[in-house]
């Protein structure tokens, strides 16, 4: 992806150099050739030339349309991660990056990823807007409070790459930096299994699910006071009062913090908010747990 961004960048550089040189040379040539030789000069008026006007309207227009289409194509591909991407959760806060791997490892201001494998980050902020920027990968995405944004990349070579916060976020903005450690896939596996063997994110989520009492109402067979959450993620749910919504990460998060915002049809508005009782990291663990339920459910959970 970085190579594609660079190819486009150099195309733009080429166009810019061409037009700057053109204008620069014309100005210099005219300035020398037509310099005032006597005070009494009164050159002939040239009011304009329609063909030239059309020419220098259409050529830039055509060129900018090339830039637009090319740029849009790269942007489109950067915006949608491949389905098989490795998913890592990132929570930004003043002034640090926290990452949680599905296997449970969490890191601060560092992110270990395997090479040659698409990695998708699901990110949110605990406070102000931040921005996840890795210049070497040519990726950048704002990290916002109150919603999830994603960014993905596929690192080609192992090594250590700089991570910056690119959206001004307060006093220590310039200190909100870190590094992305890209490892050979085998080394990455070793790294994942090394260290204190912790609980997986989904496991931690399940513990939370029990501890916060979610399980009391959200029974897996749908007979509880709340709807079943098995196989929920990615499904369309019908809402009270008509309409429907896709149950993505953002919807689940909203339903945990503002349960009355979008009620599922057929269930009473009895859930109270978990605001203050659960952290952004915790919500991400719950999400991981719910996703693991999706997987367990397997093929039968199509509808």
């Amino acid at each position: 992806m970085a190579a594609r961004v660079d190819a486009l960048f150099y195309f733009l550089v080429a166009v810019s150099v061409f037009f700057s040189t053109l204008i620069f040379v014309l100005i210099i040539v005219f300035a020398i050739k037509y310099r005032r030789r006597s005070e009494n000069e009164r050159p002939q008026a040239i009011p304009g030339n329609l063909r030239l006007e059309v020419l220098w309207t259409t050529i830039p227009l055509a060129l900018t349309m090339v830039m637009f289409v090319w740029g849009a194509k790269v942007y489109f591909d950067i915006s949608y991660p491949p389905i098989d991407a490795l998913e890592i959760s990132v929570v930004a806060k003043q002034w640090m990056w926290k990452a949680q791997h599905p296997e449970g490892q969490s890191e601060i201001n560092e992110l270990h990823v395997p090479a040659q494998r698409p990695v998708k980050l699901v990110m949110t902020s605990q406070d102000v807007i931040h921005d996840f920027f890795v210049p070497a990968f040519r990726v950048k995405k704002d990290v916002l409070p109150g919603r999830y944004t994603t960014v993905w990349f596929e690192a080609t070579r192992p090594g250590s790459y700089r991570l910056f916060c690119a959206q001004y976020c307060g006093t220590q903005h310039a200190g909100m930096v870190g590094r992305i450690v890209v490892m050979e896939p085998s080394e990455f596996q070793a790294w994942l299994s090394g260290g204190a063997a912790g609980v997986s994110m989904a496991g931690a989520g399940e513990t939370l699910f029990q501890r916060l009492g979610c399980a009391a109402c959200h029974l897996p067979n749908g007979t509880g006071r709340g709807p079943s959450l098995v196989g929920l993620i990615g499904k369309k749910v019908r809402l009270q009062g008509g309409g429907s919504v896709t149950a993505d990460e953002g919807y689940i998060r909203e339903s945990i913090l503002h349960p009355q915002a979008k009620l599922v049809a057929g269930y009473p508005p009895v859930m109270s908010t978990f605001k203050g009782l659960i952290s952004e990291d915790g919500i991400m663990q719950i999400l991981a747990y719910l996703k693991s339920l999706n997987r367990e459910e397997g093929t039968e959970g199509k509808k």
């Binding site: 594609r4 960048f9 733009l12 166009v15 700057s20 204008i23 014309l26 100005i27 005219f30 300035a31 037509y34 310099r35 005032r36 000069e41 009164r42 050159p43 002939q44 008026a45 040239i46 009011p47 304009g48 030239l52 006007e53 309207t57 830039p60 227009l61 900018t64 349309m65 830039m67 637009f68 740029g71 849009a72 194509k73 790269v74 942007y75 950067i78 915006s79 102000v128 807007i129 921005d131 920027f133 990726v139 950048k140 916002l144 409070p145 109150g146 919603r147 944004t149 700089r162 910056f164 690119a166 959206q167 001004y168 307060g170 006093t171 220590q172 903005h173 310039a174 200190g175 503002h258």
Partner: protein, 548 residues
């Protein structure tokens, strides 16, 4: 013309004396001076902040100022330069002075409103200066929420109230210009005989009127959220921080055109005068100003390509941003074509104009990088953006402002400035500018984020180059301050039309009388009729401005 007579002649400067004659004046030319003094003050205040920023960035460590101070410095630099210098500079100083004269009017349509605009501007400025003196504000000039509305514990509310107030000055100035241009043109001054300077200000005034209320509303919402905890932008209360960005850029992108369009108007005047040619493609240059003003309102989302806004919205904004490049390119080509077979002189204003074309071309082309979605993702919020908009706002707008100020200085003061020093200053500014900001394009491509007071050591060389350039640039800016003030006393008497320029403002004595023209002229030819020896202007029988 003999000098003693010119000295004794009554003109707008010597008709009254004393401070109150200035503070209560309704003469557009004197109000232009009030603005000139104030924007110059703010320019050097903003420049002082910039100096400290560049000094801090000389080394990768934070050794000159602390993080908090640095954040306040770049915020105050942006706020002062944009709202208190760039936006009012050309319209309120040169536009105020020249528009009535260029169209053959005796003043603006609402002279007292014009004075009120200046007081409003000063009141807003005092608020913002108070905020700076009380400890400053650290949100960046963009005031992104929820940082500005919840988290920052600096003087956000006072600052945004200052900007809110100053906005009304822009609105009233724009209103004044539009009414003046519609209703007060001299006989024969048809729309397509107007100087392009007037067209550019007409387009600018439309943006003033349509855009400024939106920033006023947006910033007052920030202040209300801060002071009373409204949940408009705060996601905790169900607000949307991106809503702020949409509203903010809805004004602040057009505001870029507020800064550059009047400059483009100045350049059209300078290029024609110093190449003694009609402008090439008058209608195209005129309408491109309106096209820029109109399209400028439809491109705000290109500031939000990485913000998480919808992919399809980003695509529409990218497409529209590409389109805004076209009228800008048309202008550049027409100015260049105007030079063809001209009679080109290299007085200081022309050096600024030629420099403008080069820097505007560079600034405009790098704008395409930012409009191109796939590339913006990489260079967004890096020094590439900083370099790009300084090429437009400093390289272009300030160059145009200084070029215009030199060009009309003899008209405003009746005195000439020292030509050779002025040429030297123009060259120093051009070189210093490029050395300051060109390395920043490279820095941005390499990934240095903006608003960092400490940075990885690999970025140091380019930062040192940039700081070196800034010190040259500073010399270039102080020079005109010194010699222009000096010329008020020591400058040679300029005479009515020292440049042999066309345009009605040159057909009245320098400095002009209070009512601009003793007798209202009748216009019979198009603008920039440089091919003839003398301008053709009709005066009623028996009436003609006293030959200065």
């Amino acid at each position: 013309m003999t000098e003693p007579i010119a000295e004794r002649r009554r003109h707008y400067l010597n008709v009254h004396y004393g401070l109150t004659s200035w503070l209560f004046t309704t003469d557009h030319k004197r109000i232009a001076w009030l603005y000139l003094v104030s924007v110059t003050f703010f320019f050097f205040v903003g420049g002082l902040f910039a100096t400290l920023i560049r000094l801090e960035l000389l080394t990768p460590q934070g050794d000159l100022v602390q993080a908090e101070t640095y954040n306040k410095l770049f915020t105050m630099h942006g706020v002062t330069m944009i709202f208190f210098f760039l936006i009012p500079a050309i319209p309120a100083v040169l536009g105020n002075f020249l528009i009535p004269m260029m169209i053959g009017a005796r003043d603006l349509a609402f002279p007292r409103l014009n004075l009120a605009s200046w007081y409003i501007y000063i009141l807003g400025g005092l608020f913002t200066l108070t905020a700076a003196a009380a400890g400053g504000v650290d949100t960046g000039w963009t005031f992104y929420t929820p940082y500005s509305s919840i988290y920052s514990n600096t003087h956000v509310a006072v600052t945004v109230i200052g900007i809110f107030i100053t906005g009304f000055s822009s609105i009233l100035t724009g209103l004044n210009f539009i009414v003046t241009i519609h209703t007060m043109r001299a006989p024969g001054m048809t729309w397509f005989r107007m100087p392009l300077f007037v067209w550019a200000h007409y387009a600018t005034s439309l943006i003033f009127i349509l855009g400024t209320p939106v920033i006023a509303i947006t910033l007052s919402l920030v202040a209300l959220e801060r002071l009373f905890g409204l949940g408009i932008f705060n996601p905790e209360l169900g607000g949307d921080p991106l809503l702020f960005q949409h509203l903010f850029w809805f004004y602040s992108h057009p505001a870029v055109y507020i800064m550059i369009l009047p400059g483009m108007g100045v350049i059209s005047e300078l290029i024609t005068c110093f190449s003694r040619k009609r402008i090439f493609g008058y209608e195209f240059v005129a309408f491109s100003s309106l096209a820029i003003a109109a399209l400028g309102f439809l491109v705000w989302g290109h500031h939000m390509f990485v913000s998480g806004q919808s992919v399809y919205a980003s695509m529409i904004f990218s497409l529209l941003s590409m389109l805004v490049a076209i009228p800008s390119a048309v202008k550049v080509f027409n100015w260049t074509a105007t030079l063809y077979k001209g009679s080109i002189a290299f007085d200081a204003p022309m050096l600024y104009a030629l420099g403008f074309i080069g820097l505007f071309t560079a600034g405009g082309l790098t704008g395409l990088f930012l409009a191109t979605l796939g590339v913006d993702i990489h260079v967004h919020d890096t020094y590439f953006v900083i370099a790009h908009f300084h090429y437009i706002m400093v390289g272009s707008a300030v160059m145009a402002y200084l070029g215009g100020l030199h060009f009309w200085w003899p008209k405003m003061t009746g005195r000439k400035y020292p030509e050779n020093v002025a040429r030297l200053a123009a060259v120093i500014i051009f070189l210093g500018f490029n050395l300051t900001f060109f390395p920043q394009f490279v820095l941005g491509y390499l990934g240095m984020p903006r608003r960092y007071h400490i940075y990885p050591p690999e970025f140091q060389v380019l930062n040192v180059l940039s700081t070196a350039g800034a010190s040259i640039l500073a010399v270039g800016y102080v020079l005109p301050l010194v010699y222009l003030i000096g010329s008020l006393r020591y400058g040679a008497i300029a005479g009515m039309n020292p440049w042999n320029a066309r345009g009605l403002e040159w057909q009245t004595p320098s400095p002009p009388p209070t009512g601009n023209f003793d007798v209202t002229p009748t216009v019979v030819e198009k603008a920039y009729a440089y091919e003839s020896l003398e301008p053709e202007i009709l005066y009623p029988p028996g009436g003609r401005a006293a030959d200065a």
